[in-house]
């Protein structure tokens, strides 16, 4: 298994607070990985670094078969290279319809002129319809995203992630605010995606992580505390201390 993303020894400090401390992480293609850890463990900062929002003070982040460094790339370039991100708080364009949200996310040339001349092809239409069916919003395509329920917004953002067709998906708390039925659907979707993509899921909910049934990385105070199956890491004495000592 080749590694798609290879993070090596990164550290980042905010005003003296060491949010990430010599963290190393890799994920291959295809793979499903859950990242867990108490609040402040550095999960979101880790995603910020991979997606280019935050620059680490030291360390390397390498991407793809050619091992390009992501540290010199902008957020937009990283996204175009094939890394998609879903935020913890669902962020969709509330002022626009579900269809417009998906259309903006659709994998097509990203320049302004391309956007001005863009026409919705039959292929685009089919793709949007397929994604809408997948996320259960087929009947809401013309609805304003702002009036969707919290769970539906979560779904829409997952749909936008799918529309981008990334190779690596960083998914922050996908199941928050979902009913148990929706959670089951999310689990199935993530597992299916992981057959052909690299998927990193950040999650608090242990039950959800158990259902994902994948390799788990435990973060604590900005570094990796343990890695392995869920049962393996939960048996680790240090992990137990971190979770109980919270």
């Amino acid at each position: 298994m080749n590694s798609l993303l290879e993070v090596q020894g990164i550290s980042v400090t905010f005003d003296g607070f060491r949010a990430i401390n010599n963290l190393s992480f890799q994920i291959g293609l295809p793979e499903l990985r859950a990242v867990i850890g108490p609040n402040g463990a550095g999960k979101t900062t880790f995603m910020d670094i991979v997606t280019g929002k935050t620059r680490p003070d030291s360390g390397t982040v390498r991407w793809g078969e050619m091992g390009h460094s992501l540290l010199s790339m902008s957020e937009a370039q990283i996204a175009q290279a094939g890394i998609g991100r879903k935020f913890q708080r669902p962020t969709v364009f509330e002022d626009q319809s579900v269809r417009e949200n998906l259309r903006v996310a659709l994998k097509k040339p990203r320049g302004p002129l391309a956007a001005i001349m863009d026409r919705v092809t039959d292929e685009d239409r089919a793709r949007i319809a397929a994604i809408a069916a997948e996320i259960g919003l087929s009947d809401h395509l013309e609805m304003q995203a702002g009036i969707l329920s919290h769970g539906q917004k979560q779904w829409l953002e997952i749909g936008m992630l799918l529309a981008q067709d990334p190779r690596l998906l960083l998914v922050d708390e996908p199941a928050a605010g979902m009913t148990s039925e929706e959670r089951a659907h999310t689990t199935a979707l993530l597992k299916r995606l992981a057959e052909s993509h690299a998927v990193v899921v950040v999650e608090h909910d242990m039950e959800f992580v158990r259902r994902l049934d994948c390799r788990v990385t435990v973060l604590h105070e900005g570094s990796v505390l343990a890695e392995g199956t869920l049962d393996h890491v939960m048996a680790d004495q240090r992990v137990i201390e971190v979770y109980l000592g919270r």
Partner: protein, 391 residues
């Protein structure tokens, strides 16, 4: 898929604009009954130019979320560029006419020197400043009307957006830009006649025999066509994917970035495009106003532009046009001496002084009671009608 089907306001807007332009023509002195004076025709034509500037402001602020407090600088620059050509050509013609009686026919160089002296003696200069180099060519002037505001917007925008300056900081920067430009133009030695500005711009070269009554209608129509075309273009731009992206930037810039779009490139595109639109609007406005001076570019003008759009309703193109038309016409009414002063015994309400108060109150009222602006009132009419049909 035409723009008419993508944006329902387009056919209505173009229809109303056409009816309005035809109506003004029918009532004009030159081509109709003469019910409208030449000066009022000019006011209406100038109002259309202000509507065009407001349309640009709505694109950059209402749609893309960049609260620029400097777009009137681009408007003024367009005016200065066309003003240089108008003034040169006009003065050149006057000088030629004066020298025609001279016993020895003057050389071209002498005419040029005399023209320069005529224009610049007011600021104690007699040579052509470098920036007037293109003022004898209509073609270059038309090019510069687009290029000068466009380049300033491009360079300023590139510096600002590349450094990710946003929100109130960007507004302050744009305000500083327009203030700096205005102060620069106030200098007598900058080559643009300092606070005298450029004048006599209503005299169109080669149209000496044609009266202002006809010229006013021509410029009125030119302004109407420019506004109409820009409206269609803007509606087309914002109704497609490009519109989705810039509205996305307005609402959540970071999200757009993580979708792989280079936000700064989009902002720069909109900022520059709207700067150019303002330049064109200014180039049509000042030949009707007849005079331009650095005061026109003062920061307050750009703030008014934002106020018009806010009152009209941002994020909807017709809102900007309504806001600019209503507020600037009211402003002309109250500050132009047309409104009768109200005598309250102890003191008199003189509207010239009280108009800013009225405008301020109006702005507060709209913000409180109609946050979507005057244009938002259209929703009540449009959205209610289909419901009644269904029952």
């Amino acid at each position: 898929m035409s723009v008419f089907s993508r944006n329902r306001s387009v056919p209505i807007f173009i229809g109303l604009l056409t009816v309005f332009a035809l109506g003004v023509t029918i009532l004009s002195e030159a081509y109709g009954t003469g019910a409208l004076s030449v000066s009022f025709t000019k006011v209406l034509g100038m109002t259309l130019c202000l509507c065009l500037a407001a349309l640009a402001m709505d694109l950059v602020w209402g749609y893309c979320g960049i609260l620029s407090l400097g777009h009137f600088a681009f408007f003024g620059l367009g005016g200065y560029v066309i003003g240089m050509w108008l003034m040169t050509a006009r003065t050149d013609a006057v000088v030629r006419a004066n020298l025609a009686q001279a016993p020895i026919p003057p050389t071209e160089a002498e005419i040029s020197d005399a023209t320069a002296l005529q224009i610049f003696s007011v600021v104690g200069a007699e040579d052509w400043p470098w920036m007037w180099a293109a003022s004898d060519s209509l073609f270059l002037t038309l090019l510069l009307i687009v290029a000068v505001p466009g380049l300033l917007a491009l360079v300023f925008g590139w510096l600002a957006f590349r450094s990710r300056v946003t929100g109130v900081y960007l507004s302050i920067l744009t305000q500083a830009m327009t203030l700096a430009l205005s102060l620069y133009l106030f200098q007598n030695d900058t080559g643009l006649r300092g606070n005298n500005g450029l004048s006599g711009l209503q005299n169109i070269p080669g149209a000496g025999d044609i009266g202002q009554d006809r010229i006013s209608i021509w410029f009125f129509w030119a302004s109407a066509v420019a506004l109409g075309l820009s409206y269609v273009g803007a509606a087309w731009l914002v109704s497609g994917k490009f519109g989705s992206i810039i509205r996305g930037i307005r609402d959540d810039e970071q999200r757009v970035r993580f979708l792989g779009y280079r936000v700064e490139v989009y902002k720069l595109f909109v900022f520059t495009l709207t700067g150019i639109l303002c330049g064109i609007a200014g180039a049509l406005y000042y030949p009707q106003a007849g005079i331009i001076n650095p005061d026109e570019i003062a920061p307050i003008a750009s703030i008014y532009l934002a106020v018009w759009v806010a009152i009209g309703g941002r994020g909807r193109l017709y809102g900007a046009v309504i806001g600019a038309a209503v507020v600037s016409l009211l402003s002309t009414y109250f500050t132009g001496g047309r409104a009768p002063d109200i005598d309250l015994g102890a003191f008199t309400i003189e509207w010239v002084d009280w108009w800013p108060v009225l405008l301020g109150l109006g702005f507060v009222m709209v913000t409180l009671f109609a946050p979507k602006g005057l244009g938002g009132l259209v929703d009540y009419v449009v959205r209610k009608a289909p419901k009644e049909d269904r029952t």
